[in-house]
Amino acid sequence: MSLREKAAITGVGETAYLRGSGKSAFQLQVEASLTAIADAGLTPKDIDGIIPIGITGAPAEEFVTSFGTPDLRFSALTPLGGASSIAAVQCAAAAIAAGLCNHVLIAAGRNSFLGARAGVRIHEMPQFHFVTEFELPLGAIAPAQLYAPMARRHMELYGTTSRQLGEIAVTVRQHALLNDNAIMKKPITLDDHQASRMISDPFRLLDCSLESDGGAAFVVSAAERARDMRQPPTYVMGIAEGHPDSPSAITQRPDMTTLGLAKAAPRAFAMAGVTQKDINVAEIYDCFTWVVLCQLEDMGFCKKGEGGAFVEGGRLRLGGALPTNTHGGLLSQAHMLGLNHVVELVRQLRGQGGRAQVKDAKVGLATGYGDLGDGAIVIMRRG
């Protein structure tokens, strides 16, 4: 049995994205959930499966309490950091295909701007225990510092340049300017990127994603039900998660320039029965610019080492061959653990992409990147 076409995403929802909301993470999660459920044409009592996302997320029981859910048949956690939300799609699709449930809510709420920052949060997570014991005391604290050696090695081995990373930052910012619900409102140039202060070489400030507040949610439903629901259906064609070698320590990874996505992507493309050339729009997890470039390679859009040249020449911009992060991404819209990437992919495939709509988008993908290199990918099509 394959999960191909077994599930669809039938509802999406987001709160306003802000820097400092004054709301709890759970409230943001609930607000986004109610929007996503209404978007699907369902009521909260129709939800019979829940996968809460994120370390600040509430357990399934809180949703049952809040919604008066009469019979929650399925709940799970997918702790893959920024790959959690797409790993959750796989988990939900498998549960649906097995007949366990019909409508799975996947939701996250974050108040990261005023709360604990990433450099503090990760050290409370068990999957970072090697980092916390052996790397944190040296001053390798935050994701920027932990991931920088991957990018630096890529640059030395393959000649990737900071300006090529800047291409990604500028492109994603341009797309954010088309999105009323994006935090970053000012255009940037390559020169702005090059002039932004160094955080952890080679990552400059404009290579790094945002800390933000907000909620995002979506509903995964059985494919046969999606046909008659409120929104145009968007089907899951291919789905996979992948874990890198040495998942708990980047420093010990045999190939530091390859992520878990390199294992997941071939499986997802094979399941979907499409190739890279069939992808009309891509929402690629962008905690850092280089992570986008590496994932393009790991998904086979170009060879390993050729990502720098691939992102040049406007290829990722609206109107380019592979419009990417049409919502502004984690770099310029908001850091919603990649749920906003899934929400945007669904909107693009429905033709609800607003000013950033990719003309005639039929097939697209979203990726997640989590913790120290976990990966997940979903390939979807419009109905």
Partner: protein, 137 residues
């Protein structure tokens, strides 16, 4: 600077890693080696991923290796490191086949390259914590 390192994060050794930290305090870099198949493993862990033996010895590392990658920290994500900026974190491929993370000393920032031969030394912090560091060899 007596108080320079006050407030820096300190390692919290586990039962598995205690010998590593004790040796480091004596200025020695040690590695876990599988008693059965002699495969090195780092960071310290319960099981050999080659032969699944739970038995391991601690052996002194050569301390010799080459730079696998690095970063220069220009932003302190913890107040304890503000006084260190900028500092170099270097991933070193050790001759034993595993890697170590440490500070790099004695190389101008613009001259750091992958493949550069380095050797282990110990950074003795003012708060009593000993950590791995590397210098050119």
């Amino acid at each position: 600077m007596a108080n320079e390192s006050i407030g820096k994060p300190v390692p919290h050794p586990t039962e598995l890693s205690q010998p590593y930290w004790e040796a480091l305090n004596e200025g020695v870099l040690t590695l876990q080696r599988c008693t059965r198949c002699e495969k090195f493993r780092h960071y310290p862990r319960l099981v050999c991923d080659g032969c699944y033996s739970l038995e391991a010895d601690w052996v002194e590392a050569s301390g010799r290796g080459e730079i696998h990658s690095w970063t220069v920290a220009h932003h302190a994500f913890h107040p304890g490191f503000v006084g260190d900026l900028p500092y170099v974190l270097v991933v070193v491929q050790l001759e034993e086949g595993v890697r170590a993370l440490g500070r790099l000393h004695g190389v101008p920032i613009g001259e750091i390259r992958i493949g550069m031969p380095v050797k282990f030394t110990v950074d003795q912090r003012d708060d009593g914590v000993a950590l791995p560091a590397f210098v050119p060899r």
